[in-house]
Symmetry: C2
């Protein structure tokens, strides 16, 4: 799943958080130059340490101009793009405005269709939209246990059950994450995102509404089946482990090769220290 690149730089549109920096570092380590396109108030200012330019939210045409100017043919999107505070600051350019009717139609079909519509417009402009799994496959969590611990047979059964539920939800473009214990779905992730869903499990247990003994329950994470993986790679990192600890969960089950590890070394170290398993399931998306 490498992209067999031709020496052209990879243009990386950088959403929030450290993910874009981690991906850029990995791509550069692999011998390919990068050109980072950051969004003011969203992207980590550290992207300025590599060839880069800053734009405002909504300047879609500018992304294409910058990528072309840098000699890039491949474009990658990494990190969360939507922060309400920054949308207030958005400067939609002509190109984005021309796309609007298409985006509005796509929006009615859910996030997933919206991303596919954007990817389609970029492709029409002559670029190839890449996914993290293509340009930095080593960042994706592999099949099997990544740390010292492995899931028990019961936890494996919970993980498989969770992947089935996610697959059932997938046509409705909802659900990248779930918490399951003993084949019971304790929480489903929708607009609140992973962190708030895990915080909810912690609260339900602390308040006694969820009466579970000891470290138990599995957090299951996979891309939505229909999701344009190139545009929105699910990711976990060391902070995910802290969330699991707070929620008293036993481990993380991910679709192998489909979920990115941010700060993989720290992630596994935190997981091992916390006694939490991190395991990839190849049948995740079966």
């Amino acid at each position: 799943m490498t992209d067999g690149h031709d020496g052209t730089p990879l243009a990386i549109v950088c959403g929030a958080g450290r993910f874009p920096l981690v991906v850029a570092e990995e791509v550069v380590r692999g011998g390919r130059p990068v050109f980072l396109i950051g969004m003011g108030g969203v992207s980590d200012p550290e992207i300025a340490q590599r060839p880069h330019a800053f734009i405002r939210m909504g300047q879609f045409g500018r992304i294409l101009e910058l990528a072309r100017g840098a000699g890039a043919r491949d474009i990658l999107f990494v990190g969360a793009m939507t922060r309400p505070a920054t949308w207030r600051d958005a400067r939609p350019d002509l190109r984005l405005l021309m796309l609007l009717p298409r985006l509005v139609r796509a929006f009615r079909g859910g996030d997933d269709h919206l991303l596919s519509a954007l990817a389609g417009a970029i492709t029409e402009a002559g670029f190839t939209v890449r996914g993290v799994h293509e340009v930095a496959p080593r960042l994706m969590l592999p099949d099997g246990a990544s740390g010292a611990l492995s899931p028990s047979p019961g936890e494996i059964a919970d993980a498989r059950f969770g992947f089935e539920v996610l697959a059932a939800l997938s046509p409705f473009d909802v659900g990248q994450g779930l918490v399951v214990h003993n084949r019971r779905v304790l929480a489903v992730e929708a607009a609140e995102g992973t962190d708030l869903m895990l915080a909810r499990v912690a609260e339900l247990r602390a308040s006694g509404r969820l009466h579970l003994k000891g470290r138990c329950g599995v957090f299951i994470k996979a891309p939505k089946r229909g999701q344009d993986r190139r545009m929105d790679t699910p990711a976990i990192g060391p902070h995910t482990i802290s969330r699991l600890e707070a929620a008293g969960l036993a481990g993380i089950a991910v679709a192998a090769g489909e979920v990115m590890a941010v700060d993989g070394g720290d992630l596994i170290e935190s997981a091992d220290q916390a006694g939490i398993f991190v395991s990839g399931f190849r049948q995740g998306l079966a």
Copy 2:
């Protein structure tokens, strides 16, 4: 869907909240005597105003004895049975202990199977387990708008979409409720329950994480498809309207004849005052 009862009293096992009292009143109004079985620390003390007895959580055999002693052949369960604080106080009797292996097996299959297992044991003891829709059909929300307002075509589409998602989740014994806007699932109810799910939508909007303008979004509620409706009737009441107002939602879509209205008069009055529609959909479970 009436039960054509034979004059024997209806034994009502009363969970938490006002639902059991409302159902008892409606049954008595219909000319049938009731015998209320309350649980200390769980049931509303007001049940003492009708023929009744109090037991402790877990006294399953005692329920059957009391029902038999009262001359009842039909048993109805109403209201939430599980409050962690009271389970600590539980006194499982011999009959419940004899059921335990069966209940543990059922528990692994989810709440739904657990209820079915209990219903099975009651049936084997010679009783008929009734549902609210049988003994008090007038309490169930009917097809169409119950108040002054009707859903818009877009809201109807969101409701149908939501019923589809609930149907897809049903085999996994999760999801009695959802919030949908423009065919996008904003929240899915799991172990947290309806109130906390609606509170979450309110918070996501207040914090700007969910950026929606004005009163919009539909709360969709239906029994799980495989759910033993007799044992766990979904219900909404005036407090549900307050939750919707806080979350800025436009209305409630329920599966017609499958969801109980607690304090129906107040519910509709609050809904009308708040400008919120309450509408039953016959195709809800199609």
